[in-house]
């Protein structure tokens, strides 16, 4: 059995609302192993993005805990932001003033990689996602699909154990979405990474090795 790279136990999260706390997640537990891909589907407002943010350490659960593999140990992701987990967002979330190469290298620079090494790693990953020739282009000069490829390269640059993808094809046309999804699954498989994919698409969700549905604040097999 491959090692556990992501472990969430009894996660609960509620948001403040005028009528009182609005529970979004009640008791979510999840274990993801290296090389495993997990898809999570759910209706809008079901808490998919919130769950992903808790798994990635971008938010703190009201109850429960999250651990991710980082440098040989399971640690709280909030303490190791940018290292144990890589994010791919629906809107790419690239820095508009930086080139593709700089966007990817930035993620490495932030965690302390020296500039030359960060650029080298970024160039290699842009080659991997098929954008070597567009390394010096700004996001505004790239198509949506190309931006998402840059975002994928950025998510990989710090060699995370887990990739969290939040609707990575949500803003793309059908053909580009297919290309990106294939690239994402290929890269994850080739690097032995774990993938947690939040998507509305039943078709893309079916391609994951494990499929889950988030409904009523609870995660259950699809």
């Amino acid at each position: 059995m491959p090692e556990i790279v992501l472990q969430a136990t009894d996660l609960a999260k509620a948001f403040a609302a005028p009528a009182g706390p609005l529970p979004v997640l009640t008791a979510v537990s999840l274990e993801v192993h290296a090389g495993e891909s997990v898809s999570i589907r759910g209706s809008s407002g079901s808490g998919k993005t919130t769950l992903l943010q808790l798994l990635g350490g971008l938010d703190v659960p009201d109850a429960g805990e999250v651990r991710v593999a980082c440098e040989g140990a399971l640690v709280a992701p909030r303490r190791r932001l940018g290292r144990g987990v890589g994010f791919v967002f629906q809107n790419y979330q690239l820095m508009p003033e930086l080139t593709a190469l700089e966007n990817v290298a930035l993620a490495a620079r932030i965690v302390g990689v020296p500039p030359a090494a960060a650029s080298a790693a970024a160039r290699e990953l842009l080659g991997l996602v098929g954008l070597a020739a567009r390394a010096d282009h700004l996001p505004a000069q790239l198509s949506g699909g190309e931006c998402q490829r840059v975002a994928l390269a950025r998510a990989l640059v710090n060699r995370p154990a887990v990739l969290l993808a939040d609707e990575p094809t949500g803003n793309l046309d059908e053909r580009t979405a297919e290309e990106i999804m294939r690239l994402l699954l290929d890269v994850v498989a080739a690097r032995g990474l774990a993938l947690v994919l939040v998507t509305h698409s039943r078709e893309f969700a079916e391609r994951a090795s494990r499929r889950l549905v988030l409904s009523g604040g609870v995660l259950s097999p699809a």
Binding site: L58, D59, L81, M95, E97, E102, A107, L138, N158
Partner: protein
Amino acid sequence: MPWFLHLALRQLFPPGKRFPAFATVSILGVALGVATLLVVQTVMNGFGEEHRKRIRESFGDCQVVAARPLARPDELVAELRRAPEVASATAYAEGPALARRGDFSGVAAVRGIDPLDPAQPARKYIHGGTFDDLDDGRVILGLGLAQQLRVRIGDKVELWSPAMAERAEKGKAPLPAEFEVCAILRTGFTEVDNAAALIPLRRFREIWNLGPRAHGVILRLKEPARAEEIAGRLNVGHPDLVFRPWQAIKRNFLEAIRFEKTMLFFLMFIITLVASFSIGSTLFSAVIRRSREVGVLAALGAGRGAILALFGLQGLLIGALGTGLGFLLTGGILHFRDAILGAINAVFGDGDMVASVYQFANIPLHYDPADFVAAGVFTLLVTTLAGFVPALWAAGRKPSEAMRDA
């Protein structure tokens, strides 16, 4: 270069934009504030410095006077010349007289001076004629007095001294002393120019029946700025004499100039503060606009300190570039100050106030490095603060909150 500095530079100066609106407007705002502050300060320093110089040159660095005329002024002059702080000492006498030419007359403040003294300050303020022509039969008149008497160089004027009244009392005919005007004096001090009449000390003594006496001694000091301290030291051993340093001669006037400068600094300070607040508000909107980017940076592992530095540095960079540009702008404005003033006078139809009111050939300047340092430090401090306040807000947000704003 740290990543946040690299990103701060890119956000301020995005590639492909020669004049990015936000950076350009902010930097120009700071530059104008700094330039306004420094132009006003430098010109005010110039006026102050010029006035101080003229006070010293008109009245000496230090005047030595007594309750009565000095009985042996030559001895005192010789003694004072031996003091290491004294550059020169010269006796003088002064007194009022009635100046008259034909149907025109005026009150003259006559001063007896040594015409052979090469350090005689009046030499610098000759408006027409020649100082060296001054002799026992000639007089140098202040411009205002000359205009009042309707005299030109070469014309004759009569001086009626109070000593002549004594002659009349004794039953003798009070004959006026007649002088030919050899030069016109223009110091810029209205009270001097409207009354001054300079004649040789020897002749003054004759007309005023002073004998060998003099009314005082004018000292030129090697370090005029230390006049107050030196005057105190020289006064020791001369209880019957009063040593008046130039700072005391026109104290109220100098205080007024200093107060004016302080008030203008305060007003300009407010202008710079307003510019800094507008930078703060612009940076605040920029931070809010970049809210999701802040969330992404946090998701990528950027700490609060780095996010704080990212936006704080933008304020600092705007401040530094604005201050530098403000210094250049100050130099440019001051270099072309007279042309600028000429244009303003032409537009508003005013005469040359600098010449007519202050009687300066051009706007005086005095660059004080302390003003530049103070303006630079103050501006950097305020603009950095203006950047840090929104940065604090941005850095304090949870990444998920910031991302939700996307």
